[in-house]
Symmetry: C2
Subunit: 311 residues, 2 copies
């Protein structure tokens, strides 16, 4: 196999508190979009993580992150006198929706991290959920970018839509949830919403529907995949970022010679994202992913491919 | 190709009134579960329709049904002095839910139709939504049945659950909606709900999720398919019955020598159902299906197979 393309992500590192409907709780666990993405992607390709934590970031979280050999955390800034981002959420009975219990922004209210000099040649870029202006400023520091994909959330659609629209004119792909696509476009039909989003400039939009799978709306076509049929959903936190990590990790590893944003590539990448996300939801926080092996991923991927195939 | 297996359906024939969120209305149009199923199935295999109408059934509905050359309507009873079943529904904005405007049961309150003597050798049987005791009595008249599939709805789960449980012990397959599976089992997770339903006896359960596709929970495995990504949804009425019609029509035509209830067969059949349902929702009532050609079905089927395939 060829040497993978360099993959970089910027996102949050969080200290999370998670409550599930069965009364279980995990307090002060490792979380954040950057962590979930990087952990998932690292199964396929070395992944550069750029993020900021405060001086309260626990040593055991640093150690847990270090168990992912493929994650290059040298771009992780520990900021003196600052506090790590903290988030608490409680899932509703159906696991589809969650209520935010508290948010302590900490370092997220301060200056964003900068891209270390030795990361500026990165080819594949994922901008995890964040303010679209900050996401854009991060992209400015990556002149070697060949494929850029951005995630967003309802907050930015509410308070920074013009910035988001500008950013969409600069990136190759957008990954967002079903209800966010509707909120952004006012179109409930997923395909119509996706096509509307393409008008802002990206080459493709991946619309995530959780347990109902994902839809790809690409300039060159439309496709859909179901989710892996999971009987046990312990904690959906980070499923979307794991999904994106699996997608871009696959692309970085396997599409070195090709067009990393081609319709067929993104479709295939969605299957990898689906499989990683299916492991992620199987236990609290990163617990399942921490023990995951490449063999387990390959086995489930083969099962998933067989499952959706129609002869 | 071998001669298709004989396929029979019993279900309603309705005079429908349908309102869509954009203010359009169709009054007094051809509808009913038996009609939608038979029309869809008839693209693949001759389909015997057993149902009752009143003497008010319009000649133009009889003529429309007759345009489906594959539908054998000789088992259609026109009952003197009785009224045809009438139903009116209004779709909500999101097209996911509908409100019933009125229901005039008419012949549905009277004796059910009996199976004509020359239909008693039927191999593949679909019992469209109806009282489970009546569905069971219909099945009693079909000693040559090789594959029986039943549909149901929330009404029967509410008022006739014991009858429904008994019926599930006699049939090979159950087809029902997402929310009905949850209502029946109290399990929200689709796979868990499907496995619970298998405990009543059927070999497989197909759980329909509308725009989110379908899940197969079979004694021999689990699979999932997305819906065909439709940008235009004019009228979802009958989509579920068309889906079942496409499934069983395919099985009757293609699985003559095999095991018609095998996991791989039902999975493949779901793709045929998905494609027929995607045409059905494209226009009011049966308007689109009335002009549908085998070439259009084959083309969309090929597109759908390519779309879900992961290389």
């Amino acid at each position: 196999m060829l040497r993978p393309m360099s993959l970089i992500v910027t996102g949050t590192i969080g200290i999370d508190t998670i409550q599930t409907p069965d009364g279980q709780e995990r307090e002060g666990v490792l979380g954040g979009s950057g962590v979930y993405f990087a952990a998932a992607a690292s199964f396929f390709a070395p992944t550069r993580l750029v993020a900021v934590v405060g001086e309260d970031w626990p040593d055991e979280h640093r150690a847990a992150l270090a168990t992912f050999a493929g994650v290059d955390a040298s771009g992780l800034e520990t900021r003196a006198g600052s506090k790590t981002f903290r988030w608490g959420g409680r899932y509703q009975d159906n696991m589809d929706h969650r209520d935010t219990l508290f948010t302590e922004l900490g370092v997220l209210e301060e200056a964003p991290p900068t891209v270390p000099e030795n990361f500026r040649d990165s080819s594949i870029v994922f901008l995890a959920n964040g303010h679209p202006a900050t996401q854009g400023a991060f992209l400015d520091q990556l002149p070697g970018c060949k494929l850029s994909v951005v995630d967003t959330m309802d907050l930015w659609i509410d308070i920074a839509k013009p910035d988001l629209e500008t950013l969409l004119g600069r990136v190759d792909g957008l990954v967002l949830n079903y209800d966010e696509a509707e909120k952004f476009t006012g179109r409930r039909n997923t395909i119509t919403a996706g096509k509307k989003l393409l008008e802002y400039g990206p080459r493709f939009v991946v619309i995530k529907k959780g347990e109902h799978g994902a839809i790809l709306v690409h300039r060159d076509g439309v496709s859909a995949l179901p989710a892996y049929p999971a009987e046990v959903v312990v904690d959906p936190t980070g499923a979307g970022d794991s999904f994106a990590g699996g997608m871009l990790g696959y692309i970085a590893a396997h599409e070195v010679d090709g067009d990393p944003g081609a319709f067929e590539v993104i479709h295939r990448a969605m299957a990898y994202g689906t499989v990683i996300a299916s492991f992620n939801i199987d236990a609290f926080t990163l617990e399942r992913v921490l023990t995951l092996t490449s063999e387990e991923i390959e086995a489930r991927l083969a099962e998933f491919k067989r499952m959706v195939r129609v002869e």
